[in-house]
Amino acid sequence: MHPLREISLVAGRELLRALRSAKGLALLVLALLGAVLLATLASAVNDMGGNGVDATMRESAYRAMFGDAAVARRLAQIPAALITVDFATTALLPLFVLLVGFDGVSAELQHRTLRFFTVRTRRPSYYLGKVLGLFAVVTATSALVHLVAWGVLVARGLLSLQATLSWGPLLWLTLLPISLAWSALAVLFSSLFRQPFLALISGFIGYVALAIAQAWLTHEKLPALVYPSSFDRWLLHPSFTNVVTGVLLSVGFAAVTSSLGVAIFARRDA
């Protein structure tokens, strides 16, 4: 069997499991709750005058945030409510991915369920299937969250349907490469521990460490490429080359993380 077939089978199982299990149900509730919270947050920004704020002021704020005039100019054209939904999702994404994926491998190591699979599938295929399965779950959930949040905002008259359809899907698409990078990192942490709780805690600590490292590298004006959510600086850029750079950075981060994970996982006891 071709490794890609193995990967797709493992990823498909992961997606089905997430959708059918109690955890999947909890995930759905969490996603809907998150969507309503995002919509509420976006409404609050709007009530504070977000959409009414002078585009120049918003552009300045975005320039300060991203350090890039072209990104800032582009974002200033997008309704503030949509930007709020996107920023909040990007900020919460690592935590969400960790919560969804921390037990993906660790629980199967803990209960030795993995032993049913290792005689049937190559370990790298199993590992990469877990990464892609988690990515698929996160992608489906983030799509649901965005759709619900946009729906609430449009229904309340805070966004026009046209603006939502013009910018919304584009902003959501920028999340996908970042989701892949975080998914790869979450599976790495999950594969290092037999106890899911340890995977969760160490993942959380790891994320905080990466955020600190990112801040330090930025402060020192060094290439700050350790925190995937920060890749939106390239992904939100109007230039196609920058978007491709953002995608490559995210995929590269996922590839490096997964290679490390596969190398460790291939050697470890099942």
Binding site: M1, L9, R13, K23, R112, L114, F117, T121, D269
Partner: protein, 311 residues
């Protein structure tokens, strides 16, 4: 590796930090045999089993299954089935879809995967569990589903770690019948504490102790059933000298605490049945009171001897 060999371990060693679990084990398991892995707790049975299944990497030596390294999934897919002792079935998945998924993962395509899943579930008499969630299965049912997944695709080598552990006597008996029915179709490797069970179903076995192989071979050789008989006597006469005088008998020992006579004979001169007839005739004539007769020392006694009498 010979074409008749299913599994070959060569000078295999496995250490967990300073603790050596398996030390310098060399072992061959023939194709289409039923082979037992025997030993007390801590003997290294499960570690050896895990090395063969590819769950663990050896610290030294080589482990080959059907001529391939144990972790060569591509070469062994569908040819090696394993029942891990302590692996838990995914509780939220339904039995049927889990077995179908495993069948697909080992290369059985489309509807054939579901048909194969149904077939193996039927083989373990679990057809009615198809739609049940794995988490809802009793221990015995889960064990059968575990065996069913090991039989998916009719593998050439099946490894079963403690297949009857924790089962009620009836379920254990049924599983033994299932394994006996598989005899000759594949190499069955059974790791178990239940020596009577292994003696009943195995053609050959390896006895491990403290991580080392202390004996291996056909069961009749391990138990010396072709050259020894044991007779349990109730209170009464024990005519040892008369027995020693029998031409077929090479030696007689009497264990007073268990009142067991161990009679050695030359297997090239007579078979066990002939010796039993002659010895019992003499004992009855001498008015000895016989409680039981068996060929050989019994696997349990042999394991006790070889492993320093630790159970």
């Amino acid at each position: 590796m010979s074409a008749d060999i299913a599994i070959e371990l060569t000078r295999v060693r496995k250490a967990f930090g300073p603790r050596v679990a398996v030390n310098d084990v060399t072992l061959s398991i023939p194709k289409r045999s039923v082979f037992g892995l025997i030993g007390p707790n801590g003997a290294g049975k499960t570690t050896t089993f895990s090395l063969i299944a590819g769950y663990l990497l050896p610290s030294g030596g080589t482990v080959e299954v059907l001529g391939h390294p144990a972790r060569s999934v591509a070469a062994l897919r569908g040819r090696l089935g394993v029942l891990p002792q302590d692996a838990i079935l995914p509780p939220s998945e339904r039995v049927g879809e889990f077995l179908t998924f495993l069948a697909r993962l080992q290369g059985i395509a489309g509807r054939a995967a579901e048909a194969e899943a149904r077939r193996v579930l039927e083989e373990v008499e679990g057809s009615a569990w198809w739609a049940l969630k794995c988490g809802a299965l009793s221990h015995g049912m889960a064990k059968r589903v575990g065996i069913a997944q090991a039989l998916l695709g009719g593998p050439e080598v099946v490894l079963l770690d403690e297949p009857t552990a924790g089962l009620d006597p009836r379920s254990a008996w049924e599983i033994r019948q299932l394994l006996k029915a598989r005899r000759g179709t594949c190499a069955l490797v059974v790791s178990s504490h239940n020596l009577h069970e292994l003696e009943e179903i195995c053609d050959a076995a390896a006895i491990l102790d403290l991580g080392r192989l202390v004996a291996a071979g056909p069961i009749h050789e391990l138990t010396a059933s072709s050259q020894q008989i044991s007779i349990e006597l109730a209170e009464g006469p024990t005519p040892l000298e008369a027995l020693r005088a029998l031409p077929l008998v090479r030696g007689v020992a009497f264990e007073a605490d268990t009142r067991t006579l161990l009679v050695d004979f030359d297997s090239s001169s007579a078979d066990a049945e002939t010796v039993i007839a002659e010895v019992l005739g003499l004992l009855l004539a001498q008015r000895a009171r016989i409680s039981g007769v068996s060929k050989g020392r019994g696997l349990e006694r042999r394991v006790m001897e070889l492993t320093g009498a630790r159970p």
